[in-house]
């Protein structure tokens, strides 16, 4: 006994595909990672596209699926590498020997208003 024709199934799959296409890219909206060296912001990295970036402080970071990780570092213990990939805004990657901190900001830093 046939419940549905093949066309019905295709339409259902197409409907779900459309929903997934619309919902997921928005889920990881444009977020950025900020790299601080000695407390100064030295670089902003877009997390929406996958990449591998060499930082002047002697670290290589990898961006994948909206997450950022340190994959190599010239520091002795490489604790930063073992901190893995982060995607949450309140948990940064810290490398003490390189005096470097990498943290994710939800969107590029923007001032809402100026008092003057």
């Amino acid at each position: 006994m046939k419940f549905f024709t093949r066309n019905d199934i295709l339409i259902v799959i197409a409907a779900f595909a459309i929903v997934i296409l619309f919902v997921f890219p928005r889920g990881k909206a444009s977020s950025f990672a900020e790299v601080y060296h000695d407390g100064r912001l030295v670089r902003t990295i877009d997390l929406s596209s996958d990449s591998e970036i060499f930082l002047d402080v002697g670290m290589v970071v990898k961006v994948q699926d909206g997450r950022i990780s340190v994959i190599d570092s010239d520091c002795p213990e490489k604790l930063c590498v073992s901190q893995g990939a982060i995607s949450m805004t309140n948990i940064p990657i810290v490398c003490v020997p390189n005096r470097t901190l990498i943290k994710i900001v939800s969107s590029q830093f923007e001032v809402d208003a100026i008092t003057q």
Binding site: M1, V19, V111, D112, T115, Q116
Partner: protein
Amino acid sequence: MPKGNSSSLLRNRVFLYGLLFVSAIVLLTIVFFRQKPLEYYDKTEYHLGTYVTIRVSSSTMSPVTLAEAAFTEIKRIDDKFGSRSNGVIAELNRTGELHDIDKETSFLIRSALEIARNTSGAFDPTLYSLTRLWGFDDESSKKRIPNDKEIEDALGSTGFSRITYDEELGYVSLVDGAMIDLGGIAKGYAVDMAIAKIKSLDPDATGFIDAGGDIGVIGPKYGNRPWIVGVRNPRGESVQDVIEYIYLYDGAVATSGDYERFFVEDSVRYHHILDPETGFPSRSGVISATVIGKSTMLADAYATAAFVIGMEPGVTFLPRFGALVLLVMEDMSIFRSPGFEVYQER
């Protein structure tokens, strides 16, 4: 193909497409209601001698309506208390005394006098004749350095002690030809009242009102995030040149700076914030004073006072009146009153 089979296929298809249709409606409804409060409506109009921007969002009513209502309120206050108005204050300044003043005027005079007392006259609502002498009363006025005689004469009719105010009788009188100028607090008051108007229409509305750098918060961004307010670098090349950041969930912030209105003569900068004691632009070493306060009116008035007081011990008293102070000095060093740093943590 048996007849029963094709009708059960039809039933199943009706069920399947019905389900798809219902889920589509549910999904659209969710998306619609989730997206809506995230949208902020911006509107800028010229009032109170400056550009006023309202950024507002509401989940229950049109932000356009809220902004319109707020602007109507701001316009009402501008007409009543603004420098060009011909209302109660103008009449009071003409006649020297007034009986049965209305509650709103009474509130503003009382507030102005209270702030003047709290700041030992660093904020003074009677400086209009001095302001006019320097040409800071209007953009089109000619700006010049008055001579000592003119300053001395003007000082003879300024000072908040020349105002007699009786709250119960609703009576105000001015002596020695003094004139009240509520311009220093009317702008902040207008922002506060506009926020109150929005809140009365939707208590959960969020956003902020920015009247030429005096900012009052309607509600936190998206309901739970702070508004990021940059303090303008007083010697920066652009308005966007920010020296400090403040994170505001509620309350207000205002800044007084020597870059707002000034003229330069013989390479000396003469700015619009006059010292009530000397009659000259305040030389306290401050080039910008930012105050975080409960209301925009208080923040605005105390920012002016903090600019005049400077690093004198008096500035440490301001937090007790609900005014947290950040001063930028001539050498670009920064002074914060205790508690200000709380608003600088994200």
